[in-house]
């Protein structure tokens, strides 16, 4: 199992796109910080800092693509045979791929958080303090920063669990990527319609898309929980249960896959 994980990490680090993505996140994070410094009237640096200067949005896209392709490229390159004909079970193979993306996701989140701290102390040392009250919330800036990072990380994994499921069921990665990306942006588009439906039929609050509101609700609890009909604990548990459920279904299909 450790050997499989090592193999996956080796393959990931050898991809040029991996290093390109890290470079992109660094430039994007620092770029947005510089931009908000120049246009601080329109863009509030304190608010942007809490959301890592928008890096989690790009990180999500990167990880959706990584999760889909870590499975689908094995089929495209016909390398899945080399992987499966080792002494390990299909379950161990998929779990090693999950752990690789988990490592990547933790690493890239930490990277963007360190970059955000760097931005804060280089560009906004006198603009705001980490112990200021956060915008529109009850927490301090550093608390909001940690909360929003933690919550977006969890909802990102809700999406990744669906992407993993689709990639494990089908051999093509493209559809898994499309569903992941659409799922990620769908919330903005259909949330108002979804809230109307939830207010009409309460059970709809349990649909997975509603749980993507978790980060927003943590920061603006009172307003959003009225619309989602769920409290913060329900949100957290719901996310975790859905992640486990989707992963387990993916595992079920992958363990039966012929190559």
């Amino acid at each position: 199992m450790g050997y499989l994980y090592k193999q996956e990490i080796f393959k990931l680090l050898k991809k040029r796109s991996f290093w390109f993505c890290l470079l992109f996140i660094a430039l994007q994070n620092i770029g947005v910080a510089i931009f908000s410094q120049s246009y601080s009237k329109f863009l509030q640096p304190k608010f942007l800092f809490q959301y890592d200067f928008v890096s989690p949005a790009f990180i999500s896209l990167i990880l959706i693509a990584t999760s889909a392709t870590i499975i689908s490229t094995e089929f495209e390159y016909n390398t899945i045979k080399n992987v499966v004909m080792q002494q390990y079970s299909r379950n161990q193979i998929l779990i090693s791929k999950w752990l690789t993306v988990l490592t990547y996701s933790v690493g890239i989140y930490l990277f963007s958080m360190i970059l955000s701290l760097f931005d804060k102390f280089i560009f906004f040392n006198n603009t705001f303090s980490l112990v200021d009250k956060s915008e529109g919330g009850t927490y301090l800036v550093w608390q909001s920063w940690l909360i929003s990072n933690g919550a977006t990380f969890i909802t990102l994994w809700l999406i990744l669990s669906i992407v993993f499921l689709l990639a494990a069921v089908m051999k093509k990665g493209a559809l898994a990527v499309v569903v992941g990306v659409v799922g990620y942006f769908a919330l903005e588009i259909i949330s108002s319609l979804m809230f109307v439906l939830i207010s009409k039929w309460d059970f709809l609050k349990w649909n997975p898309l509603n749980f993507l509101n978790y980060p927003g609700q943590l920061v603006r609890e009172s307003t959003l929980s009225e619309l989602t009909h769920l409290n913060n604990d329900q949100m957290l548990m719901g996310n975790i249960i859905y992640i486990i459920l989707f992963m387990a279904i993916g595992l079920f299909f992958f363990s039966r896959k012929e190559v």
Binding site: K11, K14, E74, V84, M85, N91, E258
Partner: protein
Amino acid sequence: MGNFKGNSDGGSVLEETILSVKNLNKSFGNRQTLFDINFECQKGHIIGLVGANGAGKTTIMKAILSLIKSEGQVTIDGQKSTFNHHPILKRVGALVEYPGIYPYLSGRDHLKLFVTDSNDSKERIQKIINDLKLNNYIDQKAKLYSLGMKQKLGIAMALVNQPDLVILDEPMNGLDPQATKDLRELILKRRDQGMTVLISSHILGELQKLAEDLIVIDHGKVIKKTTMNELLASNQHFVVIKTSDDVEAQKLLEIVGFQVVSQSPLRLTLTKENTVERLMNILMKQQITVNDMQHEDADLEESILKLIAE
């Protein structure tokens, strides 16, 4: 587990079975492709799996390697191997269909990726690179490789861990004559060190030079299990002659019961009764001089084609 086989000295040696396939059946939907496949491979042998396209050779190999689900029992060195539980595959190397290559990795990276951790991993990688003469391009990205280069890398990946059992599906595909010879020599060398090889190839001439045991597959069934020597010995033998009067010689020999296969040159079938000696006697009595004579034996290709046709 072991079974006794007589050796050429008249004594007996204990042979161990490394691979045993019992009652292997496979269906794709409603279409059954393998029917009760049974065979065993003895340690240190090279076993040829022969059959027409679509006969089921690759499917058998895939089932042994747990790539596809199948009914029946696959045992490797005494351990059962199933679709989702196959730790014994640690001791098996394989190349099935075409090689799986990551385009963004170099050849050496591929070997590093699949080599098992041990103190001599680096040496094993370098050894297989030298054995298969991959040195010139092993550090280039694999996306730049030709078909033959990819094939050689696939074989190197199958052999890098010095497995006890190697399964090679059409390994000579895309290889030039020199590479084919290198591969043949490497397989024979590893066989001498105790490695067992299950190999399929449609280049029967090549297989004839390698395999000791043969399993002939047709329409998903084993139609013959034999040794190369036995199969070749059961072949027809011919003699081709040039005489002072071919027309007269043909007439004479047909009258006494020789079977003439072709006329120019005059090719005759040899049997237990119709020997070269008898042929020479008859021609000499009629004062027909034999100017040239050559023996011809049917090769593996003819034997296999005959078997399949039956």
